[in-house]
């Protein structure tokens, strides 16, 4: 068996899976759905610019931070629970010559080692659903965000029960364990005191990801017997699962969405 939870105890789902070499072979470099393109969308939706100070929650190996620093010219602090991730993120960032703009911290999202009101934008990509208590994490986010600052969240939305046959497969590709409905994310942001909450469905990134996996499985099926991808490439079964997953995505049962919200300027609730 593969231990998916090796160095990320708070994460109960996909993080370990993405670290398998065979998986990156399947997915290419885009480790979270939508990849760098979706990260740039999140940057636009949070009005990030060259003077922005950005906090990337659960930054993994720091890809997004590097994308944002290069693309928006902003300062990024990436934060991850895993020391291993942070070390790797630092190394990759030095190699990319972006260490001046992007730094990393290993810490718990529920207790951020960051001053009050010192950040312009917080992003959380495919990670909010993995926090044991997202509500607490969001209250911490509000503490470090300057008044009027924005949070950008991209995450899996689960709008229908996952079919029995897909639970295992889908759970490895997407963090469905803590996933909420679109309305559910809205609620959790609202409860934390955010205003001007906006949601945008980007379910197409899942379709694209499945297409990419499908294409590669097809190619790899003849060449490999890697146990990590076994569940995908088992004769017929893997392909069948992929097409079931595709149907589930198409039906809107599972989707992907961007949420943006603002830290209110005063105690009062304002409109966006």
């Amino acid at each position: 068996m593969i231990d998916f939870d090796r160095d990320t105890p708070v994460k109960s789902c996909c993080a370990g899976f993405y670290e398998l070499p065979a998986v990156s072979m399947l997915l290419g470099d885009n480790l979270h759905p939508g990849g760098a393109a979706l990260t740039r969308k999140l940057a636009a939706a949070t009005a990030m610019g060259r003077n922005s100070k950005v906090l990337d929650l659960a930054c993994g190996r720091g890809d997004s931070g590097r994308v944002l620093a290069a693309h928006c010219g902003c300062q990024v602090v990436g934060l991850d629970y895993s020391v291993v991730n942070v070390a790797r993120a630092q190394r990759l960032t030095r190699e990319a010559d972006l260490a001046e703009r992007v730094s990393f911290l290993s810490a718990d999202a529920q207790r951020l080692p960051i001053e009050d009101e010192s950040v312009d934008v917080v992003i959380s990509e495919c990670s909010l659903c993995t926090f044991p208590n997202p509500g607490n994490a969001l209250i911490e986010v509000r503490r470090v965000l300057r008044p009027g600052g924005r949070i950008g969240v991209s995450d899996v939305t689960l709008n229908a029960p996952v079919p029995e046959s897909l639970q295992h497969t889908l759970g490895h590709v997407l963090c469905i364990t803590g996933a909420r409905t679109t309305r559910g994310y809205h609620q959790v942001l609202e409860d934390a005191g955010f205003t001007g909450i906006r949601a945008r469905d980007v379910g197409y990134v899942l379709t694209e990801m499945l297409t990419r996996i499908e294409r590669r499985v097809h190619k790899l099926a003849e060449l490999t017997d890697l146990e990590q991808v076994a569940e995908f490439v088992e004769p017929n079964d893997g392909k069948q699962k992929l097409s079931q997953a595709r149907d589930f995505v198409a039906s809107g049962g599972v989707s992907y969405a961007l949420f943006t919200a603002r830290n209110p300027r005063t105690g009062t609730t304002r409109q966006t």
């Binding site: 740039r40 940057a43 636009a44 939706a45 949070t46 009005a47 610019g49 060259r50 290069a70 693309h71 928006c72 010219g73 902003c74 312009d120 009027g148 679109t182 309305r183 809205h186 205003t195 001007g196 909450i197 906006r198 949601a199 945008r200 469905d201 943006t260 603002r262 209110p264 300027r265 304002r270 409109q271 966006t272």
Partner: protein, 508 residues
């Protein structure tokens, strides 16, 4: 050995102009540190690096997504001879009609703002004669048929001795909207002046100068503390409910932190239908900039004003402030509905395709029936309420039965525009060709794109700077417009037809 990488991402080559000699020079457009830069070199005056935008995505979207087939003027008044931008009038190579035509009826002004692009002031005592103004209005009509917007400007137009005759003359012509560009002094001070303006409604709007709430800032931009005047003018305009747009000149470090406050103030004035922000560049007191004006550091761009609004105001989200397709590089817009206390941004809900494919080439979208219908359509037929959670539910809550009623009118629309006119630093020929604000030349024979007018055609410039350049560029043979070569090429193409088989054969 690691590969040698450029510190930037190369995007495009471009034709710019040298700020010193106003001659065309080669340039590169590159992305670096989250910004769009133009690197140019004049063989005589050296290199320059200019900040074009601080938002690469927005810049690219404006250039690549908001691409709309341009409309043409009814008449070209000048031939293509010396090449762009030395033939303005407009020539057949210009790529946009004039959605706003400016008629400057006087050079005189009762202020002498250090930032004035027209160099107007009390020391200049030339009013154009009514006869000349009528000629200029006629040209606007000849060029556009039914001009969408004619802006009466100056100088300060309201101090023209025959000011109301000018308005009457404009009213007599088939002009869809008349805008009056004013500093508000006469509205504030002259008894009965605002009342008389009221008689020109509907399709009449005041463009009222309004830059800042701070004394020192207003002093720097206007050379006088005009705050009380603006307040008094607004009181009168509110009382009479005369449609008004506040126009703020924005300069880096001066009032670029007041954008949110200005919008907030504007939307609480009954008569105000919107705010227009215009960044200004190296004009006026340059000592304000440390070590002189540095176009790589101090230029204020459209995207920075957009970002400033998004940061300082709670009213708009990024998707609400979008490029205006007819001149996407230079104009950004955000429309919203004002319904009582509710303020509901609309533009974020409009698919860019609707704007690019539908409607006329205009910045007056609220007047476009087709666009209006589509905009309102969204509310009744939008299939995914979740995707617009905030705005949709606000909207539905404000309209009791969930449908748009007839009570909505122009008074409910609030518009924020960012209009970036090109200075010599940021002059990009590609973009200039699409300029849709045209200034009618006092000769009554030409309408010249705003940006080139101020660089090359205003007052004596045409006989000095431009004349020199034209001498150098005078072609041996009269050249023709680039736009026409498309026909020449098409004529030479072998018109190979698709041969159809007789119907009988296909049915078999």
């Amino acid at each position: 050995m690691p590969p040698k990488l450029r510190p930037y991402q190369f995007y495009d080559t471009a034709v710019f102009i040298c700020i010193t000699c106003v001659r065309r020079v080669d340039a590169k457009i590159v992305f670096q540190d989250g910004c769009v830069w133009m690197l140019k070199r004049c063989p005589r005056h050296g290199a320059e690096r200019v900040l074009i935008a601080d938002d690469i995505d927005y810049y690219r979207r404006a250039r690549e997504v908001f691409v709309k087939t341009p409309e043409q003027v009814n008449r070209y008044n000048t031939p293509v001879h010396y090449g762009c931008p030395y033939d303005c009038g407009v020539c057949p190579d210009h790529e946009q009609h004039g959605c706003t035509l400016l008629i400057e009826i006087t050079d005189t002004c009762n202020l002498s703002c250090p930032t004035c692009y027209a160099m107007s002031g009390p020391e200049r005592q030339t009013h154009r004669s009514l006869e000349q103004i009528e000629k200029m209005l006629d040209l606007a009509v000849r060029n556009e048929g039914e001009p969408s917007i004619v802006q009466i400007s100056g100088g300060e137009p309201t101090i023209h001795p025959q000011f109301f005759d000018v308005l009457d003359a404009a009213r007599r012509r088939p002009i869809r909207h008349i805008l009056l560009n004013t500093n508000g002094i006469r509205i504030a001070r002259d008894e009965g002046f605002a009342e008389r303006l009221k008689t020109y409604e509907p399709a009449f709007e005041i463009y009222l100068q309004f830059d800042s709430f701070r004394r020192a800032t207003v002093q720097t931009l206007r050379g006088a503390d005009t705050r009380r005047i603006h307040e008094q003018a607004l009181e009168k305009l509110n009382a009479l409910n005369i449609s008004t747009t506040l126009v703020a000149t924005v300069r880096r470090g001066l009032n670029d932190d007041e954008l949110g406050e200005i919008i907030d103030y504007a939307r609480r004035q009954d008569c105000v239908r919107g705010v227009t922000f215009q960044p200004v560049q190296a004009a006026g007191r340059l000592e304000l900039y440390e070590g002189g004006f540095d176009p790589g550091r101090d230029r204020l761009t459209l995207t920075e004003i957009r970002r400033g609004i998004l940061e300082q105001s709670d009213l708009f989200a990024p998707e609400d402030i979008i490029p205006v397709p007819c001149h996407a590089d230079s104009v950004a817009m955000a429309y919203a509905l004002k319904l009582g206390d509710k303020f509901i941004p609309l533009t974020g809900m409009v698919d860019p395709d609707v704007l690019v494919e539908g409607g006329r080439n205009t910045i007056a979208y609220e007047g476009e029936g087709a666009i209006q219908a589509k905009l309102f359509d969204l509310f009744s037929t939008h299939h995914s309420p979740d995707s617009q959670t905030g705005a949709m539910s606000d909207f539905l809550a404000a309209i009791p039965d969930g449908r748009i009623t007839n009570q909505l009118s122009y008074d409910n629309i609030f518009r924020v525009l960012i209009v970036q006119f090109s200075d010599a630093h940021g002059f990009d020929l590609r973009s200039i060709r699409k300029t849709c604000v045209h200034i009618v030349h006092p000769d009554g024979k030409r309408a010249i794109p705003f940006d080139t007018y101020n660089l090359l055609y205003r007052d004596a410039l045409e006989h000095t700077t431009l004349a020199d350049i034209r001498r150098e560029r005078a072609p041996a043979v009269l050249s023709g417009p680039l736009s026409l070569s498309i026909h020449t090429v098409a004529d030479k193409v072998d018109p190979r037809e698709i041969k159809l088989r007789p119907m009988a054969e296909i049915i078999e």
